[in-house]
């Protein structure tokens, strides 16, 4: 399977400054999140993938197409929702989306049809005949999403999609993004500094810091790996309880006040822990199914010093 994004020593210089420092990595998931603090190089990386900036060294490929030498072919697969305001204020919403779809190559009638569909899909059906300039900030974000999906791209690039949105609008947009991701043959690249947005929509995360890769993390694997990590608060747990757990393959660490940490192998299910506890009359008062959140992963990546190029 062709990786979604391949970076091979990618270096980008803008205005005499090096913004991206030799990024190397392969991202294979269908939904990729780009994380990093402001100024980390997220938007520069997106712009480079779109062919807006030429790499000064190395290369960037998306779906196997080089961003520089096959820029036009690559852009024919892309739907892009930019971070900043991007619209034509005097056009009605649906005409604006139709315009963009026609530029992407859709014949006029199909473009019109898809523009209406995209507008209704993102929830702006009632406002589609109003000039885009009169839309609220949240509506403009949705209109940008509509123009990005109207031509049915293979890759959807979303740069800070929830910027300036109130919580219900943000929730709706995240749901839409998830729906789009799950609906079909589309890859997603979402850049955000909001960890929750990325956590809720992406399978793999590329964390940037000062133009360097701080971490590449597969969230699906992380979630799976951490599923077996349990914190228990018990009453009546004695050495026999931990011995019984160890006999079925768990690793246990006992703390004061009946707190026990258990790392479970893949073969052991949680219900077996309950069974052992029931057999020995141990009350489980609290079970914390704890896993490393994306926030932990992000903070860990930010704390690292020097050039980080590996996986967590």
């Amino acid at each position: 399977m062709t990786p979604t994004i391949e970076l091979d020593g990618l270096e980008v210089q803008l205005g005499g400054r090096t913004i991206l420092h030799g990024l190397t990595g392969v991202l294979k998931s269908r939904a990729i999140g780009l994380l990093g603090p402001n100024g980390a190089g997220k938007s520069t990386l997106i712009n480079t993938l779109l062919g807006f900036h030429a790499p000064s060294r190395g290369s960037a490929r998306m779906l196997g197409l080089d961003s520089h030498s096959s820029g036009k072919a690559l852009r024919s697969l892309v739907g892009y929702m930019p971070e900043n305001d991007a619209f034509i204020s005097k056009m009605s919403g649906v005409r604006f989306v139709r315009y963009m779809a026609e530029i992407s190559g859709l014949p006029s009638e199909q473009a019109m049809e898809r523009a209406h569909e995209a507008f209704v899909y993102v929830g702006l059906g009632e406002a589609r005949y109003r000039p885009v300039g009169t839309y609220s900030l949240g509506m403009k974000q949705l209109a940008k999403l509509a123009q990005a999906i109207a031509h049915g791209p293979k890759v959807l690039i979303l740069d800070e999609p929830t910027n300036g949105m109130d919580p219900p609008a943000r929730k709706r947009l995240i749901e839409l993004i998830r729906e789009i991701r799950e609906a079909g043959d589309i890859c997603l690249l979402l850049s955000s500094h909001l960890l929750r947005d990325v956590e809720e929509t992406c399978d793999e995360v590329l964390i940037l810091r000062n133009g360097k890769i701080a971490s590449i993390c597969n969230l699906v694997e992380e979630r799976r790996a951490n599923r077996k990590f349990l914190e228990l608060e018990t009453i009546g747990a004695e050495a026999s309880f931990t011995s019984a757990l160890e006999s079925i393959g768990c690793e246990c660490a006992v703390f004061s006040s009946g707190r026990i940490k258990i790392v479970m192998p893949d073969s052991v299910e949680i219900r077996e822990v309950f069974k052992v506890a029931a057999d020995r009359g141990v009350q489980i008062r609290r079970m914390n199914h704890r896993r490393d959140s994306l926030e932990d992963i992000f903070l860990n990546a930010m704390e690292q010093t020097g050039v980080a190029d590996g996986r967590l």
Binding site: P82, A86, M100, G105, E117, G152
Partner: protein, 294 residues
């Protein structure tokens, strides 16, 4: 992604040829332009001189009408190269006015609201973008310059005596070529200004300034240095030199102040340099992302 289903579907239908997509910009721009009554009025006014010229050609070739109008001076009704020079100059000025109204809004509207990344994130290059916008002005200005002039030429050919067309066929070339360089220069200049200045009224002012200030400076240079090369900055005058030489005017109809010592090649070069400078400005301004230096 049908409206009633409310779910995302990718597009699997046919696509238009990549080379033709620049024309989408042109088509949408025309629809917007023709919504303006002022624009329609201006366009009609720009074509009025051609309609009057058609009447003139009709009268010039119709002895009965001349007799009915009791016109005795037959020399007044001569349709030769000087006649076409005058028509071309009138229409070139009309094209300039039309360009001042239409040009400033073409790119500025996209730049004001940051729409350029949306265009350039598609299989659509900056050259396609400029071509699409250029086609708007190219078609409009053609409609008031060489197209009506060729129609007038055809009318005269049809009404004049046999053989007129063959002896004057060469005039098609200067009609088309002179119009082409004027249209190209005006279009590129106004696109460059539109990419630089976002307010329409200011942009229109800048286009006027671009024509009149350099011409004034050139005139000052001529007076101070005692030369005639300063006229190279007078773009309208350069166009007239090209027009006069192109139409093989033996009477130097336009040589009012004895300045046409400037070779026609220099006049062409001056207009081409303006085109190139405009392209340089467009190249600098039309970027999906601005790069801050430092």
């Amino acid at each position: 992604m049908a409206v009633y289903k409310r779910r995302y579907n990718s597009y699997t239908g046919s696509l238009t040829p990549a080379w033709s997509r620049f024309f989408v910009l042109t088509r949408f721009a025309f629809v917007d332009l023709f919504k303006s009554r002022f624009f329609v009025l201006l366009l009609i006014l720009c074509i009025v001189p051609c309609l009057l010229s058609a009447g003139y050609i009709f009268v010039a070739n119709n002895k009965t009408v001349q007799l009915l109008m009791q016109l005795r001076s037959v020399d007044f009704f001569v349709v030769e190269n000087q006649y076409f020079i005058v028509i071309m100059i009138v229409q070139a000025e009309a094209a300039f006015l039309l360009n001042c109204w239409v040009g400033p809004v073409l790119i500025a509207g996209d730049l004001t609201n940051g729409a350029l990344p949306l265009f350039l994130s598609r299989p659509f290059s900056r050259a396609d973008y400029v071509l699409g916008k250029l086609a708007v002005l190219g078609l409009l200005l053609s409609a008031v310059t060489w197209i009506p002039c060729l129609l007038l030429f055809s009318l005269q050919s049809g009404l004049a005596h046999d053989g007129w067309i063959w002896s004057h066929l060469w005039m098609i070339l200067p009609i088309v070529l002179c119009s082409a360089i004027w249209i190209l220069m005006l279009s590129l200049l106004s696109l460059a200004v539109s990419a630089w200045v976002k307010l329409r009224i200011v942009a229109t002012g800048v286009i006027f300034i671009t024509f009149f200030i350099p011409a004034g400076l050139g005139e000052m240079f001529n007076h101070i240095m005692g030369t005639y090369w300063g006229a190279l900055l007078n773009f309208s005058f350069m166009f007239r030199i090209i027009l006069e030489r192109g139409f093989r005017d033996p009477y130097r109809l336009l040589d009012l102040r004895g300045r046409n010592e400037i070779p026609v090649a220099a006049a062409w070069s001056a207009l081409i340099v303006v085109c190139l400078l405009s392209l340089v400005i467009l190249n600098a301004r039309l970027r999906a992302r601005e790069t801050v230096r430092g």
